[in-house]
């Protein structure tokens, strides 16, 4: 038996994905709209989730929409945007309890499909624009959100690293939008962009849970009809960045703990043959509590509570991040560099290689116990254009050799070092 059953088919410009499983007490509907990440559209796509969440044509206020969700046994509705590589994804998520577990409950799946369709295709629009009051109020909400980015120091430091490292690349765009773009945006601009998005974005629609497949297909054929066809322009690829020397950026704020974030180019993405080796490399280097970064920066030198690395798999980046005392900057940076050097020289045991593979496989399998996790895992295939069953991923990881990992380590290039520190720490940039 395959780890995940997924049935895929095309319906009127929509890729439908049905994932029958009896693991959960709920049914999940997720619609994902994909378009290239651009400065022209990023702030609009950032604002849309806020405006759309405030109501629909039939439920024109937040209270009316919430009431409808409550009636569906406290169904959860979320709309959010995010970037994956150079794509901007807008996701609509609706989660309802499976009526199997509620005596005398109505057919929840049909009601859920109807509601999600309404939220996506029948927004609260008058005279070809979103309700003006809602638009203005939500624009303010988003502006405050943008202004408060600085509060979460880890996110802020990560954002600043990418700003500097990917300057002039689409990936540096802020998915939360820009204050100056919002200033000049009108409600009718936003609605006309939304119509364009509905017409042009690639749409993938996922249904996951314990349901009758034929019943869902009929329901979707009847009511989830997209009048338009996805024709979003394809992603344009960017030239490989030439790194002549590692950039160091030091910024100061009145904070207790310094944040050291380092960005690397992996030159390897999800669809590449070397990706499994890169995953194993990342695991040994800084992916788990037995990794080199954790064992050395934290356990051996007591410099930090966290020290880890993470991959961005669609753009081909790796990030290292750690929270340290401001005065320990040079020391921490040297220890991190030494770990990478060790990895490149093959200075790690076969044992840790096998352990790490086990942990990565465990992570993949655990993802299969989370409804959203399963869908995100499957959506990776849409983003990368590479079809890989869960079993293929697992055997891909298992086959990675020590030489593969050394090769991955040697193809990684350090790009930018970013330090957010206090007035006493670091040297002047």
């Amino acid at each position: 038996m395959k780890a995940v059953e997924e049935e895929m088919y095309q319906q009127e410009g929509t890729h439908i994905h049905l994932i029958p499983t009896n693991k959960f007490k709920t049914i999940h509907l997720i619609a994902k709209f994909k378009a290239p990440l651009t400065r022209e559209t990023v702030s609009k796509r950032a604002l849309l989730p806020y405006v759309l969440r405030q109501g629909t044509k039939s439920y024109p206020s937040r209270a009316a929409l919430e009431n409808e969700l409550d009636e569906l046994y406290g169904a959860g509705l979320g709309i959010d945007g995010g970037k994956r590589g150079n794509s901007h994804i807008l996701s609509f998520r609706l989660e309802v309890a499976n009526d199997k577990f509620i005596p005398h409950a109505p057919n929840m799946l049909d009601a859920a499909v109807e509601l999600l369709k309404e939220v996506i295709f029948e927004p609260n629009v008058k005279d070809n624009q979103f309700d003006e009051d809602i638009f203005n109020r939500e624009r303010e909400t988003l502006k405050q959100r943008i202004e408060s980015v600085i509060e979460d120091k880890m996110n802020y430091a990560q954002m600043r690293l990418i700003d500097e490292m990917c300057e002039d690349e689409a990936y540096a765009l802020h998915v939360q939008g820009y204050l100056e773009d919002l200033e000049s945006l009108t409600s009718s601009d936003l609605y006309s962009y939304y119509k364009q998005l509905l017409a042009e974005d690639q749409l993938d629609f996922y249904v996951l849970g314990d349901f009758d497949t034929d019943q869902v297909k009929n329901k979707l054929a009847d009511s989830f009809v997209r009048k338009q066809h996805g024709s979003a322009p394809e992603q344009t690829s960017e030239p490989r960045k030439q790194i002549s020397e590692v950039r160091e950026i030091i910024e100061k704020q009145n904070i207790q703990q310094a944040k050291l974030h380092i960005g690397y180019r992996t030159h390897c993405t999800y669809e590449d043959a070397g990706y499994y080796a890169l995953q194993v490399f990342n695991g040994i280097f800084g992916g788990f509590p037995n990794s080199k970064l954790f064992m050395n920066v934290r356990e051996k030198h007591s410099l930090a509570y966290y020290a880890a690395s993470r991959l961005e798999s669609h753009k081909g980046l790796m990030f290292v991040f750690s929270g340290i005392a401001p005065e320990d900057y040079e020391k921490a940076r040297n220890i991190i560099e030494l770990q990478l050097k060790d990895m490149r020289a093959g200075s790690f045991e076969e044992d840790i290689l096998e352990e790490t593979k086990g942990l990565i496989i465990n992570d993949i399998l655990e993802t299969l116990d989370h409804p959203q996790g399963i869908i995100e895992l499957l959506y990776q295939q849409i983003l990368s254009g590479k079809h890989a069953e869960v079993d293929d991923m697992i055997s891909g990881i298992r086959k990675v050799t020590k030489d593969d990992v050394i090769k991955a380590a040697n193809s990684i290039e350090e790009d930018t070092v970013y330090l957010l520190t206090n007035n006493g720490g670091g040297e002047d940039a």
Partner: protein, 429 residues
């Protein structure tokens, strides 16, 4: 082995209280890939004053010691337990809250072996002066990380403004100063007192066979010897009903002020069913007024006093309880004034029968949704176990709650002297 079947939700729990006092509960779910196991002691940051096992005099231990102990239990004379789990493909973790310390792992393979590792490492402490000192640097960075998080600071600030004497008002991790005093002997004293099996619960949910698992646990436990059972004598200072400080103002490097209104509970019912009902009343009432469809939320939203960061929560523990309503607020004083006026108006308010039925429906759906997560089920089970309640009875108890009960609670809930306000304002304001 005691077997409890919960037919509506389709779950079966196997339970056993072992001769040494340990409570074991198993929830086999063969449809899942993974297993999540949690081994918890009824001991947290509030357990500051107690009579040590075998002693006669009450002692007071340094702030943050429960959390410190949690860190140090992973380190053994010859190794770090994270590596044992790593070798067995499991990912391990731990947390310390006000009243619980819990150790956990999740894994998709070697479940019996991993469970043994979990039990054995928690029941086999090894503390040395050198390793205790080494940990101080790591925990200092953990504390400093929290120092820079405005949301955590506003949460703890609100707790401190509500509670004058109760040790819930101390930071869970302690302070950089208080942890300097911790010695290996202190750790052994706390360990011996609070890690007795009688004070602990082991809960395992996921893909395993209940009989094999229970046999292993029984064999493992009967091979070890523990001190005779004794009641743990903990003491908590008297806490007045009124809040400690009506208003607290702190300054941080933020862009938008934050404001929280805290509601301190006058008392907590001790009988399990009464406790759970109180917990549900608080939940339902807050949900009715402050969820996004609620009248009070709508009022705050329309007045432009809140943004998307708005949140509310309620916590009820055996010997303290509180609720919080907070948001980023450009006008924190107006926000606080309005929320307090809303709360005070509840003494004459009434939730209609129809609204109440809808709230119940919503809550049932939410409980079912949350039951998708093995982590959630396990953590809730442990939480309710501490007050003697069976988490899986939550839906039946909820169904038995009447609108009359809710309204009686609603009208007596709020008193002005039990309300506190905590504000965080930008540094240069």
């Amino acid at each position: 082995m005691h077997k409890d079947q919960y037919e509506t939700i389709g779950e079966t729990i196997y339970k056993e209280k072992l001769p040494n006092g340990l409570t074991v509960a198993l929830l086999p779910k063969q449809e899942m890939s993974k297993t999540y196991a949690i081994f918890a002691t009824n001991y947290g940051s509030i357990d500051q004053q107690f009579v040590p096992l075998g002693g006669t005099e009450e002692i007071r231990v340094p702030e943050g010691i429960a959390h410190f102990l949690e860190h140090k239990l992973f380190e053994k004379e010859d190794r770090d337990v994270f590596q044992d789990f790593g070798r067995q493909g499991a990912s391990a973790n731990a947390y310390t809250s006000f009243s619980t310390t819990a150790y956990l792992f999740s894994a998709t393979d070697n479940i019996i072996e991993n469970t043994k590792t979990l039990i054995d490492f928690v029941q086999d402490p090894y503390f040395s002066e050198a390793s205790v000192n080494k940990e101080k640097g790591i925990i200092a960075q953990e504390i400093k990380m929290y120092d820079d998080q405005p949301d955590w600071q506003s949460f703890m600030g609100t707790i401190k403004s509500m509670f004058r004497n109760h040790p819930v008002n101390i930071d869970i991790a302690g302070t950089v100063e208080s942890i300097q005093d911790i010695t290996k002997d202190d750790l052994y004293t706390c360990y011996n007192t609070f890690y007795h099996p009688e004070n602990m619960t082991l809960f395992i949910a996921g893909n395993f066979d209940a009989d094999t698992m229970m046999n292993m646990i029984q064999d493992n436990q009967s091979a070890k010897s523990f001190a005779p059972l004794a009641d743990i004598k903990r003491s908590y200072p008297d806490e007045p009903e009124a809040v400690a400080e009506k208003e607290k103002v702190m300054k941080m490097a933020i862009s938008i002020p934050k404001c929280i209104v805290g509601i301190k509970e006058a008392s907590v019912p001790q009988e399990p069913e009464a406790f759970i009902k109180r917990d549900l009343y608080l939940d339902i009432v807050m949900d009715h007024y402050y969820s996004k469809g609620g009248a009070f939320y709508q009022d705050l939203y329309q007045s432009g006093l809140i943004d998307s960061s708005f949140y509310y929560e309620t916590t009820l523990e055996k010997n303290f309880g509180y609720s919080m309503i907070g948001s980023n607020a450009q006008k924190p004083d107006c926000f606080a004034e309005k929320v307090m006026a809303q709360l005070l108006s509840l003494k004459d308010a009434k939730i209609s029968e129809a609204d109440f039925e809808k709230l119940k429906k919503k809550k049932i759906g939410q409980i079912l949704r949350s039951m998708n997560s093995l982590e959630y089920i396990s953590n809730q089970y442990i939480h309710y176990q501490a007050v003697g309640f069976d988490f899986f009875q939550l839906i039946p108890v909820l169904e038995s709650v009447t609108a009359e009960e809710i309204n009686a609670f609603l009208n007596s809930w709020i008193a002005e002297e039990r309300l506190a306000v905590c504000k965080i304002v930008p540094e240069n304001s």
